[in-house]
Amino acid sequence: MSGALVFAWSGVVLFSLGLFGFIVHRHLLRRLLAFNIMGSGAFLVLVGLAQDGRGVDPVPHAMVITGIVVAVASTALALVVFRRWYRASGRTDLPEDT
């Protein structure tokens, strides 16, 4: 029981660290990295809480593996979009941020 909570709390810490980085940084790549750290934290919370004393719950595990693949694809798509943005504008941040 407490072992599962350690995973969930690590996920909470990762999520908050990612949130901090996401708000503080302006560079799009740093924001993408921070967003991925937030996502990893959310996955860790889901996996950690899937062990609640009634045995391991396979449903959140299946959800997390789905989420990981979608996160990889969306990260790659974000990188493609960022490169186009940089080539088009020469900026590494968004105008409304500054």
């Binding site: 909570l5 969930a8 709390w9 909470v12 810490v13 999520f15 908050s16 660290l17 949130l19 901090f20 708000i23 503080v24 919370v45 809480l49 609640d52 004393g53 009634r54 045995g55 391991v56 719950d57 396979p58 449903v59 595990h61 299946a62 959800m63 593996i65 789905t66 990981i68 693949v69 979608v70 990889v72 694809a73 969306s74 790659a76 798509l77 990188l79 493609v80 979009v81 490169r83 186009r84 940089y86 080539r87 088009a88 504008s89 020469g90």
Partner: protein, 238 residues
Amino acid sequence: MKPRVIFVGLLCLAVAGALGWAVLERTLPAENLPERVAEAMPQSGVDHPITAVLLNFRGYDTLLEIAVLLLAVVVALALREAQPDRPEAMGLENPLLRAVMAWLLPLILITTGFLLWAGAYQPGGAFQAGSVLAAGGLLLRLAGVTTAWLDNPAVLRTGLAMGLLTFLAVGLLVMLPGVPFLTYPVEHAGTLILLIELTLTLSIGLTLISLFRLTPPYADDPEEARDGPASRNGDTTS
């Protein structure tokens, strides 16, 4: 330190505290999902609960996830600039990499097949196998091996869409006897899931490789973009 950073730091600490408290004080879900999955396992056609949830009990989620993957790669393809795929510019100048690849590639393919097959009774399945397959493809590309066959639009599009189309076709065909969408007949569930997973593996691997190929490591300066690609490639092509 800027006051803004301190403010955001305090805010995120508060978020962490609230989330940690919520994790500690959570209530157990009313529905006992592990028990219900264990009860339904004999009808699923596979022996591993996560694979059963992914491809049978909650097949809808996985179907839509594959659709999201396809959407991501289609958007990335649409945003691609008309730049030639030059594997020789991509490859690392490292003869050792090619030598190691000759050893690694068969192992990668065997691991892909094993993970795909193992998904029926232990951790594994289409996503893990597809990721390993994509890693093999990326290694090939880093070693400078040409992947020009992926430039053929028909081959690329068929490969990318194959997983989703097979999944959809199976889900629709099982409706013929009058059961709901994606409800596999119990006696054929194992075979159908394996067929879906096989095509999903190939499509996921191809999707990840294509996404990687769409961001070739050329100089990205806006000045060069303004001058046009001719000056960018001028040193090698002319």
